[in-house]
Symmetry: C2
């Protein structure tokens, strides 16, 4: 199967540079990119070209941290800080996902809306419920989305009707893993966070992750009270990250959301292990966690990717989250008396796309052999288009974040 | 002409409270609100009812500070601070609005997009050009928008091809005022800001404002360098605000955008005169001006309204600007070690709607005799609707800020 897309192509090969191919051809075979060409190679001359004219063609988004069931509570209850917010709003909502019919409805709508916003890859938390987690995986897979979903494990400090015993949690995890059989959605080991997981649970999850060669996702150093709590719960760990490291949950396929208050030594440990920091700027603002020092992390060589973190975050559009990441970093710039530089549009877009390429065993940008994973956007409702360069139009497209300007989305095949 | 809208009606009568009328009737005669009724009064029983079912009906938005010509540069060039940003990007773009054809194209698209986003009232800066300003007023008026537009005055420190002499500026202002004859769009005196206006120009503009009983809009204490510059330019004024006050441009129909760095005494002067502060959170973040202390202003009794300030701001949707206002205020909360409270959703929505009611000679909320100025929003693409209260659904609708969920907009008559 050959796919040829024609238009103005943008590829984020490097973190601070857009590569622009005006009026060019993006060619894929069997859903994998062959190359970008100014002139269509002779061998494709008889193939059908999807001509997108003056539109913009660019990498689709990876949302590397979000909570599927919390889509039900999007934009509500954002008046508390993390720990109170979890107990008051989040756990009671997640507990309802025992109901598979409810789960089906929410997850169908979520999958549709993700695609509609150009998000084609996810690393997502489900709830503790195995059968609803399988429904979530099925719905994402059917919608053409790739990535990872995790059944949440939590055997302490949960809410009413929302806590497992250690045994249940492990038994259910095994039942879930045995049933995971989807084309593009794979399982990921998902201890909620240290305050919700006993040492024994973390230990056994670490063993499962190694045995089944699975990636891992959790939360780290999001909120000051949370960090103090972890210190009390785990007196034998000097720093929060060690509570994961101790149980072999600290690998180069581990995603740690937030890292707002990570110390120098925690960041050093993150870098050394190749752990990914998932920056969630919208959530950090909404539940008033603080401001992650992303620019400094990048300067240190830490791997940073972007997450919407709904429903601490308020929007699944990664356009929105890119703009939030820039604004938050400008806050750090301002508060450092203009010393710490802020994220450029190029950098923030890279975090939402190419930065997660190694997690999916790919290379940054629209590289050869990567999956054809693109958005086509029509900015013709905006003025001045003929006076702007492709790069300016693209930056404007990011800032104007118009869902309705997305006219097509590909993830291997056309999914919207 | 009788209009009857049926649905779930929300009215922001007070700053920290939504009044909710489930499944009720909003009745207007000749485009003015008569009342909200749980049961339709007998006298209207034969009138046609626009039944919006389970949808949300709420006040449309007032954008109290934005620059029409800068719509052309939306989301571009946001990598500099205010004064450099003006000289590098803004003045060269505004200078192009001498071209009336270009102006027509940009302003038609802007007017359409404002309505599409539920903004029905504006206080807007045009460029210095009289004929293009009249085009802007005409296009807004045709689109059904109400409010004020100002020809910009600037006789110093402009860009190449973008500065008037004092005489020209005044002569052109008079020519413009003589030609303003639109149904719902009125003129407003618009000195750009003190650094761009000589004493003589400000003095004469003050006289025109008094003589013609016109409101006034300008900028105040947006950026630290700007404030220092004003001090040098106007050594006889102790504080920035006095440069306006001195020339009678400081009234209870004056809008001052930003006030990020206003001192206690400046805020006191604002309060005393009844000047409106237009808070522009998106712009303040983008051009890294700093963080206005809105909650403290409100506590002092200062009148605060909301503005998108495109294209320092990046989005004309007031949903976006409401969410930005909350996030910025949460930053102030965090940075004050959780001492200064943050804006609630109720408060931020009020700033974007009811807070400007007195400027338009109305009362807050969907009050009797106010213009029927509402948005109808369909949130049925989101899950869980039957489990949420109307208030929760409304807050979610604000946070999810879906343009495509807006199904109708009224400003006296139906305009979308």
């Amino acid at each position: 199967m050959i796919t040829i897309l024609k238009g103005n192509i943008i590829s984020a090969d490097k973190i601070n540079e857009f590569k622009i191919f005006k009026d060019s051809f993006l060619v894929a075979e069997d859903g994998k990119i062959v190359g970008i060409f100014e002139k269509l190679p002779q061998k494709y001359k008889d193939e059908k070209v999807e001509d997108y004219g003056n539109k913009l063609i660019f990498q689709a988004f990876s949302d590397m941290h979000l909570h599927g069931p919390q889509y039900a509570m999007l934009g509500t209850g954002l008046d508390l800080q993390l720990l109170d917010w979890l107990n008051t709003y989040t756990f009671p909502v997640e507990a309802q996902f025992k109901d598979q019919e409810l789960a089906r409805d929410v997850y169908q709508k979520l999958a549709k809306e993700l695609v509609r916003n150009g998000t084609t890859r996810v690393c997502m938390f489900s709830s503790t419920h195995v059968d609803s987690t399988l429904i979530l995986m099925e719905e994402l897979d059917k919608a053409g989305i790739s990535g990872y979903v995790g059944k949440v494990n939590m055997d302490r400090n949960g809410g009413k009707n929302y806590q497992e015993t250690t045994e249940e949690s492990l038994k259910e995890t095994k039942r879930w893993l045995a049933k995971c059989n989807f084309k593009n959605i794979k399982p990921i080991i998902t201890p909620r966070f240290t305050p919700a997981c006993s040492d024994e649970l973390l230990k056994q999850l670490g063993k499962i992750a190694i045995k089944s060669e699975l990636p891992i996702q959790s939360h780290l150093s999001e909120n000051k009270n949370e960090i103090e709590w972890v210190k009390k719960l785990c007196p034998d760990s000097k720093e929060y990250w060690e509570t994961y490291k101790k149980h072999k949950l600290w690998t180069n396929k581990t995603l740690m959301a937030h890292c707002v208050h990570s110390t120098e030594s925690e960041l050093e440990a993150i870098k050394k292990a190749g752990v990914y920091v998932v920056h969630c700027p919208s959530s950090n603002q909404n539940v008033i966690s603080g401001y992650a020092q992303v620019k400094e992390m990048l300067n240190k060589g830490v791997r940073v990717v972007l997450g919407s973190d709904i429903a601490g975050g308020d929007h699944i559009s990664m356009f929105e989250n890119i703009v939030d990441a820039i604004k938050v970093s400008k806050g750090n710039h301002y508060n450092s008396n203009y010393k710490i530089p802020f994220l450029t549009v190029e950098e923030a877009f890279y975090l939402a796309t190419s930065a997660s390429a190694p997690f999916f065993n790919e290379r940054p940008g629209l590289a050869k052999n990567n999956v054809l994973n693109v958005i086509i956007l029509d900015d013709s409702n905006l003025p001045f288009t003929d006076k702007l360069s492709i790069k300016e139009r693209f930056k404007r497209a990011i800032y104007t974040r118009q869902k309705d300007a997305i006219v097509a989305v590909y993830n291997g095949v056309k999914i919207y």
